[in-house]
Amino acid sequence: MKTKPPTPAVTLEPARMRAARIIGVGSAGVGLLEVMRREEFAGAGFVAVNTDATSLAGSTVALKIHLETRLLRGLGTGGDPERGRAIAEEQFATLKTACEGADVIFIVAGLGGGAGSGIAPVLARAAKETGALVLAFVTLPFGCEGNRRQEQAQQSLDQLRVVADGVICLPCQKTFKLIDENTSVLDTFRITGELLVEGVRGVWRLLTRPGLIQIHFDDFCALVRNRHSESAFASVEASGPARSREVVEKLLNHPLLEEGRVLAESDAVLVSMMGGKDLTMAEVGRVMEQINRHCEHAKVIMGAAVDEGMKALLSVTVIAARQNPDAKIAAPGAAPASGESADTSTFSKRQPVAAVPGDNAPPPAFTMEQREHALARHGSGRARKAVAKMRQAQLPLAIISKGRFDKSEPTIHKGEDLDIPTYIRRGVALN
């Protein structure tokens, strides 16, 4: 960590406005920038990066980087992350320049396609090289988008995790719980986008607003770094006299936190509270007490801040992370891993690689030759070279059957499903 701004222990001064830049990558990312520009991200620099000229043309962002090369023939990446990656490597210097001068860089992207999945990890590396703190906010594709996209997204996510300081990931599939059946496709994507923006906003506020109880920047970095899993996040708001209670209720009913189960399983939780001037210490205490109770095993970092614009509103953003999900039962936030085994035939020279946790080293930079090769693949029926380091396909771990209680109402106690045998929940090994 190069950026380690000296944060005084107690400060009533507004935190120093850190130079932050929000970079939208790919069509989804660029689209999200539009949403964010409407919100209160004052002081942020926006950069749009894409290979697709039409998407960039529709963007109102001042700084646009159009990654283009003769070899793509203006057709974008065509959904191939390798191509996205190759072109990003080619224009590495441009990306690096775009990142220069910022303390924090938010990368916003929709993974699964060509541009987002391919460029985001490279961009993260470029940003890292400038010495900034890199936080990636990404979405994983919907289940119906197919195994291929899932796999591409998963790969890209793994690469991102290695280079970025923090990855906060929203599997789109989960938002199905938030919306009713009759929501149009357009609205669904809008809602997913807004959810992600909410997450960005929560962190944004954390870093920019005057903190009554400040979250140390270092704490935040420590939380999001090296937790090799998708962080689950939820942001809720409530107003009125009972707002502290309401906020906790909403939080525990939040579909992304799975009835508080995610909180119970996470090992680090960051809570950012934001209220108007009337935010009372008692309210902060009440909310924290409830949250603490639900995540007994976690290290909880909390911050509270006042935003005069909030009036009677109380907003709470929770980011929950857990360490090393490989060792645990399928992480609730993880995309279905089964998708990874489906696409093996595409890669003819696939090397079987043992799935050692933490084995997802950042892909080596392309050689000139490889880059040409990746870009020049248009229309050619040649087999692809296994460029990216493949991960061994993982089958989903044993699903715990609840036996006789399969069909009865689950007994949920503080986020734990008591119908699952205790020894499994506590991780007691027999033998």
Partner: protein, 406 residues
């Protein structure tokens, strides 16, 4: 006996068994258990009815058995209810005494209790019990009966037990479907505590934990009144299910293993021991490690006690339990369970005894019958109260009955 009004029947539709207990209240008020009927329950999960047809059949069998044994016809029952939806909390009601002489009348008491019951429940919920704890007269604490006292402001603390109306109705409708009248529904945990605790223990403060098949019900008494109730929808069924899962045996086999080799604590002598399961022909099927079995069980039971302990800690009641903890329900039969509970709760724990009932004593003084016995006891309190309340009405009722007789 020509007056069957002294017959009180408690019916518990449990997860593992349906149990009907027939009690007879003598003229002196002493309660005598004269009949018991039980049937294996097949239609209940976690204390709530899941299969009406099967549950109905089981209830009928239990009732018929109890009728035969006691040689009476059962018309009314006190029905025990439980389930994860049942909650208890304390509430205070206030009522200004408006009469000119400021004397508190029986009506004032009724009013204040009504106020205390009028709480903000979710619309789909219904009050099962509103048990009065203490009255306050003009802020003066600890009044047990304020009638006749002078004061301007009467307050009462009540403990309200409430549950989901529809789910409570399921059990009631089932019993009504068998042409039986439900006198009252009673929370199982409360019933168990009535069967187990003496007045002195209630006064000192006691915790009753009834570990049933599908639920664990617990009740805290302190200062002679109920201070806290709770239901945890985890019970013996969960233990069997854990074993079936962990040892990879069918559920029925797990149940059997639980009964034969189960223990709440790891037995030193069982370390590394294993037993062989045989089929009905005596051929070996599978070897099961007893240590694993007991560890799985021990963890589940430990968790149950921990959850109860957490709840009590939150309610701030730990320091009031001077008489200790009493265990009931089929779960109390598990070897070493009291020791495990002692380790978790850090206070003396014993298996409960029913002591205030005469009759089939040796047959009944078993933990799994405590709830049903408690239901009978609850009924006897009610009838006694009703009788004591108005002698005139009592005479009227007797007369009417007499006249109606053919």
């Amino acid at each position: 006996m020509f007056d069957d009004s002294s017959i009180i029947v408690g019916l518990e539709i449990g997860t593992s068994k349906v149990c009907a207990v027939v009690g007879e209240q003598g003229a002196d008020g002493a309660l005598n258990i004269i009949g018991l009927g039980q049937a294996r329950s097949r239609g209940v999960r976690k204390g709530e009815i899941a299969d009406t047809a099967q549950a109905e059949e089981d209830v009928r069998n239990a009732i018929v058995e109890a009728e035969q044994m006691a040689d009476v016809e059962i018309r009314n029952v006190y029905l025990g209810v439980t389930g994860g939806h049942i909650r208890g909390f304390n509430n205070r009601g206030v009522h200004p005494v408006v009469s000119a002489d400021r004397e508190i009348s029986e009506d004032d008491v009724q009013d204040v209790i009504k106020n205390a019951k009028a709480i903000n429940l979710p619309t789909e919920n219904n009050v099962v019990h509103a048990i009065r704890q203490h009255f306050f007269v003009d802020g003066q604490d600890g009044v047990t009966n304020p009638v006749g006292m002078l004061g301007s402001r009467l307050e009462v603390d009540v403990h309200v037990v409430h549950g989901n109306t529809n789910r409570l109705q399921n059990a009631i409708r089932l019993v009504r479907g068998l042409q039986l009248e439900v006198d009252e529904i009673v929370f199982n945990g409360l019933a168990s505590s009535l069967a187990l605790l003496t007045g002195e223990q209630k006064e000192l403060g006691a915790l009753v934990i009834d570990i049933g098949g599908g639920t664990t019900d617990y009740v805290v008494y302190a200062g002679g009144v109920i201070r806290h109730t709770g239901v945890l929808a985890v019970g013996g069924d969960h233990v069997s299910n854990d074993l079936a899962y962990g040892l990879k045996v069918p559920l029925s086999r797990a149940e059997k293993l639980k009964l034969e080799h189960g223990s709440a604590l790891l037995d030193e002598k069982n370390k590394g021991q294993s037993v062989t399961i045989t089929n009905e022909l005596g051929l070996p099927l599978k070897t099961v490690n007893v240590e694993h079995l007991q560890r799985i069980m021990s963890l589940r039971l430990e968790e149950i006690f921990q959850l109860v302990a957490q709840d009590l800690e939150q309610a701030g009641l730990f320091d009031y339990l001077r008489a200790g903890v009493f265990l009931g329900g089929g779960g109390a039969r598990i070897p070493h369970i009291a020791r495990l509970a002692e380790q978790v709760l850090q206070m003396p724990v014993s298996i409960g005894q029913t002591n205030s009932i005469s009759g089939l004593k040796s047959a009944l003084n078993q933990p799994e019958f405590f709830t049903a016995i408690g239901l009978v006891k609850f009924g006897s309190f009610k009838t006694r109260k009703r009788e004591g309340k108005s002698l005139a009405r009592d005479i009227k009722v007797t007369l009417r009955r007499f006249l109606q007789r053919p």
